[in-house]
């Protein structure tokens, strides 16, 4: 059943949206008007420039409110979460012991030139994140944390040599699309090496969504606020299902 949703200010379907932006023009009343017309061109009805002021020579800042005519049919949004397999550490350990009978070999890395290891460490390190233990703490995982600035080649070589069951790639820097570039390179190399089908491949980072990840050819993607057990659950259920 279709369910169109629109932004909600104080009344259903009023479509209210707040915008802010900078324009490279000196402030004047005409600049306010330019901001208003620009918002109108973006499709907003009743665009109101509630703030417009100079922030530097040749630059002005604006806050605008307007009503968008657009809605989205929420019933058509397919964005299955990777986090739906919720199991506890003990449950996962028991499941793996029973069905696999050995430790799952997992390698994680911050790939490309990215040096932001806090996120992947949060998933892998013993101490974990938000009170949820990291994969190193599980009986069912053998964890290899390769750290930061690991090239895609190095990562794949390691996976091949050490026969990894699962790979976890992290990207925090997203400037100029570097995250997508690196994630794509990893999938492609795994495929070229004929490893893709043998490995549970996950990625993560603050701008990652499961949808993006699956579109890129990953089994799952994990974004902001992920806790380790969500990732562990995904890997374990994927491997025990197969």
């Amino acid at each position: 059943m279709s369910r169109i949703v629109k932004p909600y200010g104080d009344t259903m379907n009023d479509g209210k949206v707040q915008l802010s932006f900078t324009l490279p023009i000196e402030w004047s009343e005409a600049a306010d008007e330019a901001a208003r017309q620009l918002a109108a061109r973006m499709g907003f009805a009743d665009a109101q420039v509630v703030e417009g002021r100079p922030i530097a020579t040749g630059f002005s800042f604006f806050v605008v409110y307007g009503s968008t005519p657009h809605g989205i049919d929420f019933s058509t949004i397919a964005a299955p979460s990777a986090k739906t397999h919720a199991m506890s550490m003990d449950e996962i350990d028991a499941l793996v012991a029973e069905r696999i009978g050995r430790k799952i070999r997992v390698a994680g890395a911050c790939i490309g030139t990215d040096a932001h290891t806090v996120g992947i460490d949060a998933i892998l390190n013993m101490k974990g994140y938000k009170g949820d233990y990291g994969l190193e703490r599980y009986k069912s995982f053998e964890v290899h944390n390769l750290g930061s600035q690991v090239s895609v080649e190095e990562f794949v070589r390691f996976a091949k040599e050490k026969q990894m069951d699962a790979l976890l790639a992290s990207q925090v820097v997203t400037q100029k699309g570097s995250d997508v570039k690196n994630f794509t390179a990893l999938v492609e190399l795994l495929e070229a090496e004929g490893l893709r089908d043998r490995i549970v491949l996950c990625c993560g980072g603050p701008r990652v969504t499961n949808l993006l990840a699956t579109e890129l050819g990953y089994d799952a993607g994990f974004g902001r606020g992920t806790v380790p057990s969500e990732v562990a659950s995904f890997i374990a259920s994927r491997l025990t299902k197969a």
Partner: protein, 518 residues
């Protein structure tokens, strides 16, 4: 974190407030208003509307002749009750339809009238006291949480959207919800009836609307395990009637000031003084906390200059409330964070003022209003001004904390604005929870000197008012720089002198001496 202030000056201010209020109370005791009489009827059980949507209590009171009115509506109505044996509601309907007329019952003995009216008055007061007990019991089961109590407004104009917004705000952490009234309602000399879906800048205060939101909040309170209070406005020409409806529907607070309507709505001062007295007697009994409106001095004039006026008005509001039998714990004196954000050390001045009020009125549930006047379309800056307000509030232990909205200069709050605003207050009040306890003020420093100055100036201004007389002082622009003549303004024609045997069963029951029990 105590300021060193001169307690003798504080005591002197209280004495002056008493001297100022004393003659006004004498005047109040000798008069009544149509709004008070309509409230009496409502309390007795009259409700509903007649032709042209005019409320039955209005129809009845309007039909009284001057003679009848001067004895109080209860007497004439009581006579009819005694004679007809009808329930008040039924009697009201028949009077409204013209089927009956109160002049028919002039001959009924006053004693019979009083007896039956007293019976219904007791029923009504019992019901109110039951609601008060209900509140107490719920507050025990679902503790409200620590002050500063986060208070937000809903104001869509449509009571059902307001209900959605109120529940959402409660979930986000709001502890008090105010349904803002439609603009202009305070100037209506009647209370609209039934659920309403079209208001302007707010939603009409009607008994049905009160009930709708009260029920929704009771539900969410149980779900959250935290009692969420409801508040509205008892200001304007129907002040005592709104107090009546609020008592019955278990509102927890009411905006209710002894002078706001006079100064800011040009309502006749005599009308206001009489109405506030009866309203507060009732509020005291219902356990409703009043919020006074000193913040209004600051939105129209400079907040640094007006600080002594705020304090002076707090003393006067306190005195009027005491005279109506209110305990300190129900007197939510007002102030606001309205100093120009561009002023160097403005924050220090705000802290000084807020702490001064905290020390002078230690048991009052102080009401602290957010920045409004200096808010602009720069929502980012506005959010910061609100943060400093939140910090001041938690530092100085304010009680009723109206959350500022980053969109204050733009529109009545969106649902998302309210969530951001509550997040702001919660973050600041948590990260700096005990900051106030951990610091003290430099003796003779900027903060302390400012507080002392404000106190001295308030004392001076109270002295001037006492010398002139309150009504005369208001005419002479002592407050908010407006002049109001004692017999001018709206609603003066609804003020009348009491006959020597004027009678009001609720006044009889609630007279301040006995109100201590509430």
């Amino acid at each position: 974190m105590e300021l060193s202030i001169d307690l003798k000056t504080v005591a002197a201010c209280r004495e002056l407030a008493s001297a100022i209020v004393e003659p006004v109370e004498a005047f109040i005791g000798a008069h009544s208003t149509v709004a008070v009489e309509r409230s009496v009827l409502r309390l007795l059980g009259v409700d509903g509307v007649g032709a042209d949507e005019v409320p039955v209590p209005n129809l009845i009171v309007d039909a009284l002749d001057a003679q009848q009115r001067s004895h109080g509506a209860a007497l004439a109505f009581g006579k009819a009750l005694a004679q007809t044996g009808l329930e008040p509601a039924a009697l009201g309907d028949r009077l409204a339809s013209g089927e009956l007329d109160l002049h028919q019952f002039d001959a009924v003995p006053a004693a019979a009238a009083r007896e039956v009216a007293r019976k219904y008055a007791k029923r009504s007061l019992d019901r109110i006291s039951q609601r008060r007990d209900e509140r107490r019991e719920r507050l025990e089961r679902f503790p409200q949480g620590e002050p500063p109590l986060l208070y937000v407004i809903v104001a869509s104009g449509n009571i059902y959207e307001d209900r959605t917004a109120a529940v959402a705000a409660a979930e986000a952490g709001a502890q008090i919800i105010a349904v803002i009234r439609s603009t202009g309602q305070s100037l209506l000399d009647f209370v609209p009836y039934g659920p309403t879906t079209e208001g302007f800048g707010g939603t009409y205060a009607t008994q049905a609307n009160f009930k709708i939101v009260r029920e929704a909040l009771d539900e969410v309170s149980e779900r959250l395990g935290r009692y969420v209070m409801l508040t509205n406005y008892a200001s304007g020409l129907c002040m005592p009637e709104i107090a009546t409806m609020a008592a019955i529907e278990r509102l927890d607070m009411l905006l209710n000031d002894s002078m706001y309507g006079i100064l800011f709505r040009d309502i006749n001062m005599k009308r206001t003084f009489i109405d506030q007295h009866f309203s507060r007697m009732l509020n005291a009994y219902s356990g409703i906390i009043i919020n006074t409106g000193e913040d209004n001095y600051l939105t129209t004039a400079d907040a640094v200059e007006q600080a002594p006026a705020v304090l002076a008005s707090q003393f006067i509001n306190e005195e009027f409330a005491h005279r109506a039998g209110m305990p300190d714990t129900q007197i939510g004196l007002g102030d606001a964070y309205e100093i120009d954000p561009a002023l160097q050390d403005g924050f220090l001045f705000q802290v000084a003022q807020a702490q001064l009020a905290r020390q002078i009125f230690p048991d009052a549930p102080l009401k602290y209003m957010p920045p409004t006047k200096h808010m602009t379309g720069d929502i980012f800056k506005g959010h910061l001004i609100d943060a400093m307000f939140n910090l001041t509030s938690v530092m100085t232990r304010q009680t009723i904390h109206l959350c500022g909205m980053l969109t204050e200069a733009i529109h009545t709050p969106f649902l998302g604005d309210r969530a951001l605003s509550i997040e702001n207050a919660r973050y600041i009040m948590n990260t700096a929870r005990h900051f106030g306890e951990e610091i003290s003020f430099k003796p003779g420093g900027r903060i302390e000197r400012r507080a002392q100055q404000v106190l001295r100036d308030a004392h001076e201004s109270l002295q001037r008012v006492a010398d002139q007389g309150l009504m005369e002082a208001i005419e002479a622009r002592a407050f908010a720089d407006v002049s109001r003549p004692p017999d001018g303004g709206r609603g003066f024609d609804g003020v009348f002198e009491r006959a020597s045997d004027y009678w009001n069963p609720f006044e009889e029951a609630l007279a301040p001496a006995s109100a201590g029990a509430a």
